[in-house]
C-alpha cells in the first residue's frame, strides 16, 4: 500500500540524503580512518601521521602481548555475562512481577526506570561515596554492626564486583521498560483463556509470557552484548586509570589516547572493540534467532 503512495522516489531520496551524508561523515569515514590510523604512527591526538608502522601490523602484535589488554578483554567478557544475566535477567524478572501486580504497577515502573535518567558520572560519584574506604556508607554500616576493621571495596578481590554492580543496576531499568512494553503487547485474552483452563500464574509465565517475549528478549540481549563492550563512564569515574586492574576495553582505549597519548595503539583497540561487537552480535543473533508467530 505505502509503496504505491510515493511513486516519485525523488523527495524520499532528498530527505534521506542529509542523514545519510551525516552518518557517512561522522561515523563511517572516522571508522575507516580509525582502521588506517591503527596501522600508522601518530605522535598525538590531532597530529598528522608520521608514516606507517614498521611492520604495518605492529600495533596488533603488541596487543596480543599486552597484559593489560588481556585483563581488559577478560573483564569485558565478565561484564558481558553480568550484563546479559544481571541486567536483562533481573529486568525480565522485575517486569514479569510488575506485570502481575494489580496495584502500584506504575509506581514500580517509575522506581526501576529512574536510574536511567541519572547521568553515569553522578551515579559513579554516588557509588564512590557508598564504597569509600573511610566514612563510606558500606563501611559505616559494617561498623554499626560491630566490624572493627575497614574494608577497601576498591581493592582486589572486591574491585570487579564493586565496579560491575552499579553498571548492572544502572541499566536494569532500560531493559525493564522494553520488556514491560513487550508484556503489555500480549493480549490479556490469552491470560484469561489460560486461567479458565486452570493454568497457574507460574504456568502462564512459562507457557505464555516467555515464549511471546522471545523476540523482545532477543533484542535486549543484542543491545546488552554490544552495550557491554562500550561501558566506560561509570567504571572510569569509580576506578580511574583501571585502578585495581579493573580495565575494560573501553576504558583502556580512552586511557591510551588521553593519558598515554598513544593514538595509533588506541585506534587498534577501537578496531578490536568493533570486531568483537560484530562477532558477538552475530553470535547472539544466531543463538536467539527471532521467530515469527
Amino acid at each position: 500500500m505505502t509503496a504505491h503512495i510515493y511513486k516519485n522516489k525523488k523527495p524520499i531520496i532528498f530527505f534521506l540524503a542529509p542523514a545519510f551524508a551525516f552518518i557517512i561523515v561522522f561515523l563511517y569515514y572516522p571508522f575507516i580512518q580509525n582502521i588506517i590510523n591503527s596501522f600508522q604512527e601518530i605522535a598525538g591526538l590531532g597530529s598528522a601521521a608520521k608514516g606507517w608502522q614498521d611492520p604495518w601490523y605492529s600495533n596488533y602484535t603488541a596487543l596480543l602481548k599486552d597484559e593489560t589488554m588481556r585483563i581488559a578483554l577478560k573483564n569485558t567478557l565478565i561484564m558481558l555475562l553480568v550484563t546479559v544475566f544481571g541486567q536483562v535477567g533481573i529486568a525480565l524478572l522485575l517486569s514479569i512481577l510488575t506485570d502481575r501486580v494489580s496495584h502500584g504497577a506504575k509506581f514500580f515502573r517509575v522506581v526501576y526506570f529512574f536510574p536511567i535518567v541519572i547521568s553515569a558520572t553522578a551515579l559513579g560519584l554516588l557509588f564512590f561515596l557508598i564504597v569509600l574506604y573511610d566514612k563510606g556508607m558500606l563501611n559505616q554500616l559494617r561498623e554499626f554492626f560491630g566490624a572493627t576493621k575497614l574494608v577497601d571495596f576498591k581493592s582486589k578481590p572486591y574491585a570487579l564486583f564493586t565496579m560491575m554492580i552499579p553498571v548492572m543496576w544502572q541499566y536494569v531499568g532500560f531493559y525493564f521498560i522494553i520488556l514491560v512494553t513487550g508484556l503489555n503487547n500480549i493480549s490479556s485474552e490469552l491470560y484469561e483463556a489460560a486461567s479458565i483452563d486452570g493454568a497457574t500464574p507460574y504456568q502462564q509465565v512459562k507457557y505464555l509470557s516467555l515464549p511471546l517475549l522471545r523476540n523482545v528478549i532477543c533484542t535486549c540481549v543484542v543491545l546488552a552484548v554490544t552495550g557491554s563492550l562500550k561501558v566506560f563512564d561509570l567504571p572510569w569515574t569509580l576506578f580511574p586509570k583501571g585502578m585495581s586492574d579493573t580495565w575494560l576495553t573501553g576504558s583502556y582505549m580512552f586511557y591510551q589516547v588521553f593519558n598515554a597519548n598513544n593514538v595509533d595503539y588506541s585506534s587498534a583497540i577501537a578496531v578490536v572493540i568493533v570486531f568483537l561487537g560484530v562477532v558477538l552480535s552475530k553470535l547472539v543473533n544466531t543463538i536467539f534467532k527471532e521467530k515469527e508467530y
Binding site: 591526538l45 574506604y133 573511610d134 575497614l150 597519548n261
Partner: protein, 449 residues
C-alpha cells in the same frame, strides 16, 4: 497536497539549517578571525575590551587548592568591573587535568586563557604555535606583565621564550598532624631529622594505630617520587634527566622508587593507598588518622579550608639522606597564565584576555594568592603576617630555612611519558612491574619526543 507538504518540509529544513548557521560562535565570524587580523588590531588602542565577551578560562584553582576561593572572588570582581563573563572550567591539578587541556588544544577547543604548567607539559601547544608569547603581546600591550621580573617568568623549554605570567611559585614540604604525633609519642621531624630517624618515627606511629604517611600512590605519587629520588641526589643534580637507568641520575631514580616500595611494604602508607584518591588520603590526614603528608605550598590554604583547628598542623622538611640535606627543598615557579592564539586572533577576546591576566597578576592579587610562596613580582609580595595562620607562618619559616632548592624533575618529563612510573606506581610498589624497566620506558618515551 503532497507537493505542498513536501514544500513545507523543505522550507522548514532550509530555515532550520540557516538558523543553525547563525548560531555559530561570533568569534568564528568576526573579521578578526581572519589571518590578517592580528596586524589590523595591533594598531587599535590596547585599552579595555571593545565589546562584552565571554572568556573561556581554565586554571588549577579548584578543589582543595588553597586559592580556589581567592580565584573565584577575583574572577567575580573582574566580571563585575568589566561586564565581561568568564566561562570557568578550572579543575584540580592532576594528570587528568593536564590531559584534558592538551587534548583541548589538539582538538581545537582550547580555552582563551589558561593557567597551566610552563615546563615541558606545555611543549605541545607551544610548539604548535597555539599560545602567544609575551614579546608578541607586548607589541600591542607594552605594559603587559611589566610588574614581573622577566627572568622569573618561566621560559618555555621549546624556544626559551616567555609565554606565561606566573602568579604564585611553589615549594613542596612535609605537612605534619601534631595531634597524631603527640598521640604516638613521637617528636615532630625538624631540620636535623635524618631518614633513618624518620623511619623509626613512622614505625612508632604505625604501632600506635595510625597511618604514618598519607599518600595516594594510585593518583598522586608525584611528591614522594620527587623527594625519594632527591634523597640520592642534591639540589644541583636533581633536575638533570637520566640518560639511562645505570647513570647517576638513573640509579637515583631506581633507588628512590625502591624506597617508596620499602615504605609501602613496611605499611607506612594508608591501607587504601593503591585505590584511594588524593582527596581521600588528605582527609585521613585532616581527620587525625595519618601523621605526615608531602604536598605543595598550595596545600596551606587547602588545609586551612578543611580543618577547624589549623594550629594542629605544621610544615617541616622531608628528612633527607646522602648528599641531600634535610633542609634542601623542592620549589620554583612552574605555572602561569597563557593566552591562546585563538583568543588573541579574536579582537574582542584579545583585549579581554589581556585585561583578565593583567588583573589576575596585579601586585595586590599575586600577594594575596602567593602568601607564603615565591613570586616573580618586581616589588615582592606584600604579606601581612598578622593575618596569616600558624601553618602559613610555618610555611614562611620553612622557605627561609631552606639550604638549597631544586625544581621538580617531573617537569622535565612530558606528561604522557610519565605514565609507566606515575600511573604504574601501584604495580611498582607491589612488585608486579620492574622498577628499572618502568624508568627505562619513561626515558625511552621522553627521548622519542
Amino acid at each position: 497536497m503532497k507537493k505542498l507538504l513536501a514544500l513545507l518540509l523543505t522550507l522548514t529544513m532550509v530555515v532550520s539549517m540557516a538558523a543553525c548557521t547563525k548560531k555559530e560562535d561570533p568569534a568564528t565570524n568576526t573579521p578578526g578571525s581572519s589571518t590578517d587580523s592580528p596586524k589590523a588590531t595591533a594598531t587599535t588602542a590596547p585599552t579595555a575590551a571593545p565589546k562584552k565577551v565571554t572568556l573561556n578560562v581554565t586554571t588549577t584553582y579548584a578543589g582543595n587548592d588553597g586559592n580556589a576561593q581567592n580565584y573565584q572572588d577575583a574572577v567575580a570582581n573582574w566580571e563585575k568591573s568589566t561586564g565581561n563573563k568568564v566561562n570557568d572550567s578550572s579543575s584540580t591539578s592532576d594528570e587528568t587535568f593536564k590531559a584534558r587541556v592538551l587534548a583541548d588544544f589538539e582538538t581545537g577547543s582550547e580555552p582563551d586563557v589558561l593557567f597551566f604548567f610552563n615546563g615541558v607539559d606545555s611543549n605541545a601547544f607551544v610548539q604548535a604555535g597555539k599560545v602567544v608569547s609575551i614579546d608578541e603581546i607586548r607589541q600591542s600591550y607594552p605594559d603587559y606583565a611589566s610588574n614581573m621580573k622577566d627572568g622569573m617568568l618561566g621560559a618555555s623549554p621549546v624556544d626559551g621564550k616567555n609565554y606565561s605570567v606566573p602568579v604564585n611559585g611553589y615549594w613542596e614540604g612535609m605537612f605534619v598532624n601534631k595531634e597524631v604525633c603527640k598521640a604516638a609519642g613521637v617528636q615532630i621531624p625538624d631540620a636535623n631529622t635524618t631518614w633513618d630517624q624518620f623511619l623509626e618515627t613512622c614505625q612508632k606511629i604505625k604501632d600506635a594505630g595510625f597511618a604514618p604517611i598519607a599518600v595516594s600512590l594510585a593518583t598522586v605519587p608525584h611528591y614522594w617520587f620527587e623527594f625519594s629520588i632527591y634523597n640520592f641526589l642534591s639540589p644541583s643534580t636533581h633536575n638533570v634527566l637520566p640518560k639511562n637507568t645505570t647513570d647517576t641520575q638513573g640509579q637515583a631514580w631506581v633507588n628512590g622508587i625502591n624506597d617508596i616500595k620499602m615504605l609501602y611494604e613496611k605499611g607506612y602508607f594508608p591501607e587504601n593507598t593503591l585505590t584511594g584518591t588524593d582527596d581521600e588520603t588528605v582527609q585521613l590526614f585532616i581527620d587525625n588518622k595519618a601523621a605526615f603528608l608531602i604536598d605543595g605550598s598550595w596545600k596551606v590554604g587547602g588545609i586551612e579550608g578543611l580543618t577547624t583547628d589549623i594550629d594542629n598542623f605544621t610544615v617541616t622538611y622531608v628528612p633527607g639522606k646522602g648528599d641531600r640535606k634535610t633542609t634542601d627543598i623542592i620549589g620554583g615557579l612552574s605555572s602561569g597564565y597563557f593566552i591562546s592564539k585563538k583568543a588573541w586572533e579574536d579582537p574582542d577576546k584579545r583585549a579581554a584576555a589581556v585585561d583578565f591576566i593583567t588583573s589576575m597578576t596585579s601586585d595586590e592579587l599575586v600577594s594575596k594568592f602567593a602568601q607564603v610562596s615565591a613570586t616573580a613580582l618586581k616589588n615582592g609580595p606584600t604579606v601581612d603576617e598578622s593575618k596569616l595562620s600558624s601553618l602559613a607562618k610555618d610555611g614562611l619559616k620553612y622557605v627561609k630555612g631552606a639550604t638549597g632548592m631544586a625544581s621538580a624533575v617531573e617537569d622535565q618529563v612530558p606528561r604522557e611519558c610519565r605514565v609507566p612510573v606515575f600511573d604504574g606506581m601501584p604495580n611498582l610498589v607491589t612488585g608486579k612491574n620492574d622498577i628499572a624497566e618502568a624508568i627505562q620506558s619513561v626515558l625511552d618515551l621522553t627521548a622519542a619526543q
